[in-house]
Subunit: 112 residues, 2 copies
Amino acid sequence: MQQPLHRFKADFFRALGHPARLVILEQLRSGEKSVHDLQLVLELDQSSVSQQLAVLRHKQMVDSRKDGTTVYYRVRDPCLFELLDVAQTIFNNHLISTQELLQQLSQETDSL
Amino acid sequence: MQQPLHRFKADFFRALGHPARLVILEQLRSGEKSVHDLQLVLELDQSSVSQQLAVLRHKQMVDSRKDGTTVYYRVRDPCLFELLDVAQTIFNNHLISTQELLQQLSQETDSL
DNA sequence: AGCAAATATTATAATATTTATATCTTTATG
DNA sequence: CATAAAGATATAAATATTATAATATTTGCT
């Protein structure tokens, strides 16, 4: 079971397992962004942003391009956005079923 | 940026960030499985399997059903498999581009 | 060369996760 | 009822991740 493939995949998902990194990837949907751009959106210090970008870089999720002193990041494989979309669908489904459950419960409470 | 939604999503991905949990989910593709079934595949002790299942349960990724003393698990939302498929596509793309890079490098080396 | 801006790296303390081990529950059966 | 089988939970030690602060590198400008 300890196949390296599963370890590799787990690493991939772990790279998505941080709010800041998710925000970064969402930001990159609309094209490349500089570290400074991201820093403004994330409201984090420069070092933290750089660190999170390093994680995404090491997991090969983003590529960077240097222009003068500024570095622009972009996602490497657009499929990644597809993945985030499917995840979003799962969250929505989950919210809906939770909502339905609550509604059901409140109805049952009403009829007591 | 510290929106709870992104925290929630990150938690979701973190739940996928462990090889054993990925194997469990892959196993559940073909329908529900008992803890014991999973234990055999994972080659882990009962407690570890139960622990990993607890993580998936808490993140609402799986549901369980008890029949006698055995507990059967299944994934809650089939969309999850879709997500794993997209992830697989990303890995494949990545392998292909790595391969192409290596090929290119070896060609350049040949022509020296 | 000297300095400032943009980004990266490193060190480290605080937290969180994993793993291993022991201890319960629950259910079935003699 | 005693015991075994299947799972779950509690907990402590080992690891890994995150946040924060300090330091380093690269580039452009004067």
